[in-house]
């Protein structure tokens, strides 16, 4: 027979589902709790059972008092600094790194941009796992980190994460398109690049979109087959629009409304509200 260790009883279900119990933790305990939570080792009030832990924490953070919210930001920054300090020496789980990057973004820890940018520019960046490098670069893009062309060219020059480098460069100017022939991607990369290009073009003024189309046309023949085919498809779609006419921003909405009315066996007629959507008006 094994005796019951009283220490196990003392710990009890103190960390229940609500995050209210965080109010009672010291800063050190809060940091340890956050580290365990981001590793999936703490029960959390998840929306679905498999929800990523940082998303759960961020969703419930607004219910907490201002002091503990501030301490949570500090704790997430401390964990981030530890990850950066140990980069290349300690092996972290990919899901943990994504959760850590996610929590600093979702809690609005602005200083993380600088720390992550320095990590990405340092020599030890190459020592962390490729998946984690991609997550860091993705976070820098989502955080709109002010990184210049030379940074993204260096990323591209390493021969990895070319699709992310393409996004970074494209945001800085049309010459980002010059990276495309370097990308030796398959259909997976091609589909992602198609999304990047389409999302980027959607926000351009008509004249800038036409310039982008022209640059893409120049490089498409020099790309590997999968990327070249994707670019040809993208070009055909872009050129299918009347010259100088911006992409209709309510295209998706129109399709959704058509689907909605079709389910109810009712017709839906597209009614453009802006002259921008009428090629005839533009041509005239």
């Amino acid at each position: 027979m094994t005796d019951v260790d009283p220490s196990t009883l003392a710990s009890g279900p103190a960390s229940g589902p609500a995050l209210g119990h965080l109010e009672a933790l010291t800063k050190d305990d809060l940091r340890r709790w956050l580290g365990r939570a981001l590793r999936g080792q703490e029960p959390l009030p998840r929306l679905t059972i498999d929800e990523a832990p940082d998303i759960t924490v961020a969703r419930h953070e607004s219910d907490l008092g201002s002091l503990v919210r501030k301490d949570l930001r500090t704790a997430s920054m401390e964990l981030m600094i530890r990850f950066i300090d140990e980069a290349g020496r300690a092996t972290e789980d990919d899901d943990y790194v994504r959760a850590l990057l996610g929590v600093v973004q979702r809690l609005g820890v602005d200083d993380a941009v600088v720390s992550l940018g320095m990590l990405a520019q340092g020599e030890r960046f190459d020592a962390i796992r490729v998946e984690q490098q991609a997550a860091v670069l993705g976070a820098l893009l989502d955080l709109r980190a002010p990184l210049d062309r030379s940074f993204w060219h260096r990323v591209a020059g390493r021969g990895r994460h070319l699709a992310l480098a393409f996004t970074g460069l494209l945001r800085l100017g049309m010459d980002g398109v010059d990276v495309l022939p370097q990308i030796s991607g398959d259909e997976i990369v091609a589909d992602s690049l198609y999304v990047v290009l389409s999302q980027h073009a959607r926000h351009l003024r008509p004249e800038d979109r036409n310039r982008l189309v022209g640059r893409v046309r120049e490089v498409s023949g020099r790309c590997v087959a999968a990327i070249g085919a994707m670019l040809d498809e993208w070009l055909a779609e872009q050129e299918g629009r009347a010259p100088g006419v911006s992409a209709p921003t309510n295209e998706g909405l129109d399709e959704a409304l058509e689907a909605f009315f079709a389910e109810r066996h009712q017709p839906y007629e597209r009614k453009p509200e802006s002259a921008k959507l009428l090629p005839d008006v533009v041509a005239a």
């Binding site: 019951v4 196990t8 279900p13 679905t48 059972i49 969703r59 997976i188 999304v195 959704a256 058509e258």
Partner: protein, 274 residues
């Protein structure tokens, strides 16, 4: 019926406890009792779910409790000990017979969470993946081919994936014929930690034609999730318990679990709640 069900379930727990060694039995029974009588409503509910469990087979129930006891003996906090024990005994509920397996199953998940999975399986950032998701949702039944493929490469969930289906129309999108509001979905599907302002992606994917094995969920699959409800012993799958107050008397919905799966069988539209 409820009384006999409770008797039967308590008997299942007692039977499993009876097959533990004295030390394991004492420590497990003590903690379940502590949770049951404790002030923490959440863990009290988890304890009642353990006591009411009907989907775990006897051998697996014993294994779960033994694992829980081993963690507790090592000094692991009870909450974490339960979670660790559960993760060793998952996806062991009875599989749905093939002839009762629906063609289409679906699930609700947070938009940001889905974007995370899409990002991890593509060359997109999470922000780009979220933008893509919105575009696909607005595109309805026919999203652009390349956008659809990005989603179809992403998994539909992690670890143990909980899903539902339309019991009346098992070949249809389970969210196709319902009010797609967060309020409706959280109530009907028993998503207790979902807030009225959370936006959910409502996805559906092929099950039977993909050879997907669907299982009845167990209390171990639910881990520390208190919204799981044990159901009748003879049920082929689980059932949600609509959240109170449920003024619209929304009916309970079927629940199944399956292993991680890529979105190859994803069907469109992908809906969003509003």
């Amino acid at each position: 019926m409820a009384v006999s069900q409770a008797r039967c379930s308590v008997a299942a727990l007692q039977k499993a406890l009876g097959d533990l060694c004295e030390g394991d039995r004492r420590i497990v029974a003590m903690h379940i009792e502590r949770w049951t009588r404790g002030a923490d409503e959440h863990w009290s509910r988890v304890a009642r779910n353990i006591a009411g469990e009907t989907a775990l087979g006897h051998v697996d129930f014993v294994r779960l409790l033994q694992s829980f006891a081993a963690q507790l003996h090592r000094g692991v906090a009870p909450v974490l000990a339960w979670q660790c024990a559960c993760r060793k005994v998952q996806l062991v509920g009875a599989p749905l017979p093939v002839d009762r397996t629906p063609e289409i199953v679906g699930r609700a998940l947070g938009l940001g969470d889905y974007a995370r999975m899409i990002s991890a399986s593509s060359a997109l950032t999470e922000g780009q993946a979220k933008d893509l998701l919105r575009q696909v949702m607005l595109a309805g039944r026919n999203p652009p081919r390349r956008l659809a493929r990005v989603l179809q490469r992403a998994p539909v969930g992690r670890y143990v994936v909980w899903a539902t289906f339309d019991p009346q129309w098992p070949n249809e999108h389970p969210y196709g014929g319902i009010a797609r509001t967060t309020k409706f979905v959280r109530t009907a599907f028993g998503l207790g930690h979902c807030r009225p302002t959370d936006l959910l992606a409502l996805i559906a994917y092929r099950a039977r034609s993909q050879g997907l094995e669907l299982r009845r969920p167990t209390v171990a699959d639910a881990e520390s999730h208190a919204w799981y409800r044990p159901c009748e012993r003879h049920d082929l799958h689980g059932w949600t318990e609509p959240l109170p107050p449920n003024p619209g008397r929304l009916p309970r919905q079927p629940e199944v679990v399956h292993a991680e799966l890529s979105g190859e069988g994803l069907i469109f539209p992908v809906y969003s709640t509003c």
